[in-house]
């Protein structure tokens, strides 16, 4: 039987906004995805280490407060590469400014689930990309 898709949901830094993360997690669970929810207030190292320890297929990052995600998210990608885990699919949501999307896309992050994105769209994108990149099915 095919292994269930596993996703880590977390947010770096001191941003307290977690409604989006909670919502995405519950939608993913409803679609049969196993979500390891670590929530807010984590260092980039904690997020990456947890993702590797939990052997996840994907990481969902969330950020809203300010533009520091442009520091944190690239650091996540760097650290994944350093630890030879850059085949983990990284997704993001929150408040990602238009001009920053291409920069993040270039380093391998997709999704950019902003205000008002329907749950179905988010879940389909995550599952479809993980299946495509990690399950070759």
């Amino acid at each position: 039987m095919e292994r269930k898709i596993r996703v880590l949901a977390g947010a770096p830094g001191l941003d307290c906004h977690d409604r989006g993360l909670l919502y995405v997690s519950s939608e993913l669970r409803a679609a049969g995805v196993e979500v390891i929810y670590i929530g807010t207030f984590h260092t980039v190292e904690e997020i990456v280490n947890a993702a590797i320890d939990e052997d996840v297929d994907g990481i969902v990052l969330s950020y809203l407060n300010d533009d520091l995600y442009m520091i944190y998210f690239p650091k996540v990608m760097e650290l994944l590469k350093e630890k030879d885990a850059h085949d983990i699919c990284v997704f993001c949501g929150g408040r990602i400014e238009e001009e920053n999307k291409p920069v993040l896309e270039k380093i391998g992050i997709t999704g950019f689930f902003g205000q008002g994105t329907p749950g179905e769209v988010i879940v389909d994108h995550i599952i479809e990309r993980i299946k495509r990149e990690r399950r070759c099915s």
């Binding site: 830094g13 001191l14 307290c16 919502y23 300010d66 520091l68 408040r95 008002g116």
Partner: protein, 556 residues
Amino acid sequence: MKKERTKPERRFEPCPTTKTISGVPINKLYSPENTEEIDYQRDLGNPGEYPFTRGIWGDMYRGKLWTKRVFSGLGLPSDTNKRWKYLIQHGETGLYWQSDAPTGHGLDADHPLGEYNAGVTGISFSMLKDFYDYFDGISPEDISLSQNTPTMAGPVIYAGFITYAEDMGYELKKLSGSFINEYLFSALTMFNVGHFPEELSVKLSTDVIEHSIKQTPKLHPLAPNPYNLADYGANVAQEIAFTVGIIREYIDRMIARGYNIDEFAPRVNVFGCSCDIDFFEEIGKFRATRRLWAKLMKEKYGAKDAKSMRIYLSAHTEGDSLTVVQPVNNIIRITLQSLACVLGGLQSFDPCGYGEPHHLLTEAEALTCLNLHHILSHETGVAATADPLGGSYYVEWLTSKIEEDMWKLVDEIERMGGALKAIGWMREKLEKESAKRQEELETKDRYVVGVNEFIVPKEQEVKIDMDKYRPAGEQIKIAEERARQVRNFKMERDKKTTKNALENLRSEAEKGEKHNLIPAIKKALRADATLGEIIGVIRMANGYDYDPYKMIDYPF
């Protein structure tokens, strides 16, 4: 050949709204039969008279306008000082202090988890010396301060504020404004239940109330923030009722410390609410809150002083109602919300900047907020008479309905043994409501223009000059500079003096719930102890780790 016609698809469209945002069904018409149970003297009263439904001041805005505030706090202490002066020059009548994320967590600007964060989303406070920079050229005797730091950092900032005032020779009795200084609502929303020690936070906040009623009688030392509950998805009844439940924890503690209700209630009667986009529901909420508070004080606590029975309402317009797309639409939303604040009879409010979903207020946004205040107060006539919607069949009916819903929750929390015991239950309710809000957007049970209806293709969106506040690169430079300031400060101070003061604080903090820690915190601040160190030491004295994130150790 038939020519293509451009037709208005919605020409005969009716209003799609059948209920308020909180879910109260709305009739197509309200008339005298809906308000026959309402008795003017018993349920409304004139403004300034019990139960204060129509307002807490007799003359309302003809006697004094609401305090015009603008959300502020940014960058280095000198940046905030500059912005405060700018706002005062353009007609702000009350200061607003929003703490940045490290300060909000009770961390110093040089804490590792706070790397890059100092000064980014608010004011960075780490040591007593900072006050000299914030208030350079501004006297706290001249203007009230709305200080917005939840968590254990609030009491330390309060102590810093009065220490600074004392050292500068200002009269403590002239200091006015409010300190949120309340952690439980943040435990429900910004953090999570159990993230910071709740009992200890409540104890410290109670210390501030006790200290303040004697030393700073014009300050409101505890001003709970229903705003965050609404921001998390709470409906109007939950927003206020949960807050009432929370503040009763503090009221009960003060009574347990031997105080009579009238000795302190007039100092803990400020709520910092939200003002969301359902216009009449918000107005009904404000009126219902005034009536509920009055009854609560009089009937449940036996208050005799009218000052205990009236509640000061302030509001921040609801950030969650604003859209990332087409910020110009947010000006319209903020305007309507501000109008609701005025018609709701609030004592103070701060409109969001129209770029709020994107960044901290720019100067342009701050000035627009002030102009909004001024247009409301000086052009429109809406402030010329008290409670102009009083007597409206819909508004009076809605006020009563909302009050009824609020009491149900207030009573439920009481039955559960109080807010601390009910905290898990409240959090569950909030998460449910939050999920409901999202679902409503997807099923179009609720509309947000530009997001799920009336969507405009990107190339046709109205663009306004979104004067970019600060890109990430610049934000980091400020955070690094600020962290450097704090590190140097720690290196250059007389460590022996600081250590002694912190050890003194530690032993004071072991003396139990009723022992007031404000004097020892003041001593520590004067001895150059920092915010993180003071909180850390109080935590250790109560059996917690020095650092809530276990990344740094006690330095002495």
